[in-house]
Amino acid sequence: MSQNLSDQEYYLLRKKKRGRHNRKPMGNEAAKEINLVAMMDVLTILLIFLLKSYSVSAMSIPVGGAISIPLSKQLLNPKEAVKLTITSVNGEEPGVIAVDEDAVIELSPEFLARYQKRLQNGDYSIKELKEALDKKKRLIQAMAKVVDDVVFDGKIMVIADKNTPSWLILSVLGTSAEAEFTQYQLVAVRESQ
């Protein structure tokens, strides 16, 4: 074939063939040359930011429902404790009092009226809550016998909606004291956020 073609034509044909032949490998090379470094930078920075946020927001609110936590200027970090949550009593659905993930009491208007009257007569105790806290205390004490790091220190974290009446907070704290949870931490959102 080369004999019938001039040198110029032969050269062009070879070039064309080579071009066709090399098209695929050139595509692969282009794919290999995508610069991943910039993407890696973004991902690494995003990961570090998320890890930092994860560490400060390790405290989660264990139950659903309407809750708006008040703001505070304090800078103390929450410590591991039993979580006692009081959701909004003014929402569309009645609020609840929960111990960790378990809703213990539904805050119906009848319940609120009954216990406010009882507190007025000096009776702090909420029976259902005391039973739940006693159960929790026994669970922690049983775990403490098996696991060295676990110890029952009577710490309780109160996560309450900002519109909760203070008599209910006092009633909950009084009941916690009966169940030997006497170190209270009231949870708020840092105002500097």
């Binding site: 290999k32 991943l36 993407m39 890696m40 991902l43 690494t44 995003l46 990961l47 998320l50 890890l51 946020s53 994860y54 400060v56 927001s57 405290m59 989660s60 609110i61 936590i69 008040p70 703001l71 505070s72 200027k73 304090q74 800078l75 103390l76 970090n77 929450p78 410590k79 406010q116 507190l119 007025q120 974290m157 309450a160 909606d161 900002k162 519109n163 909760t164 009446p165 203070s166 008599w167 907070i169 006092l170 704290l173 009084g174 004291a177 006497t182 170190q183 209270y184 931490q185 009231l186 949870v187 708020a188 959102v189 840092r190 956020q193």
Partner: protein, 165 residues
């Protein structure tokens, strides 16, 4: 032989980032799903009165804030009934025209009492039954401020309920 060497050198240059990328993408997605909020929380330590409290000696000083429905009342007493400071701080209008507790004036009253008298860090907060938790936290914040030269004002609040106000 030389071809082999060249091939291995090329392989060495091309660091395979794909598995690393896989891990990173999975980690980022996992964290984005798990982080429910970017809010950071804080805590306020408190206590409630124990049975038998109030048995201090006659010369001991104690501070108290009565959070009533319309005002604060800041009181410092010596012993059982000697009142050293008693100031009523009424609610003020905020920018939206709503009546709010005057935490700044309470802070001033607490600061001047702490400057004048040698007192501990305990304070009794007598809350009116219907005062909102939000106001309770704001009051605790105001009396627990740190002042230069005085340190923390009152960082050990004890909560109590005040009926009938």
């Amino acid at each position: 032989m030389s071809r082999k060497r060249r091939h291995s050198e090329e392989m060495g240059e091309e660091l395979n980032l794909v598995p690393y990328m896989d891990i990173m993408v999975n980690l980022v997605l996992f964290m984005l799903v798990n982080i429910t909020s970017f809010l950071s929380f804080t805590i306020l330590n408190t206590s409630i009165p124990a049975i038998g409290d109030g048995g201090g000696d006659d010369k001991s000083l104690s501070a108290r804030v009565d959070v009533e429905s319309g005002s604060y009342k800041f009181v410092v007493t010596q012993g059982a009934d000697k009142v050293l400071v008693s100031s009523v701080i009424p609610k003020i209008n905020n920018e939206d025209g709503e009546k709010v507790y005057d935490t700044q004036s309470l802070l001033q009253a607490a600061t001047s009492a702490k400057q004048k008298y040698s007192m501990g860090e305990q304070i009794l907060l007598n809350m009116s039954a219907k005062v909102k938790y939000e106001d309770l936290v704001a009051t605790m914040d105001a009396v627990a401020e740190t002042k230069p030269g005085l340190g923390d004002l009152f960082i050990e609040p004890t909560l109590n309920i005040l009926w009938g106000s």
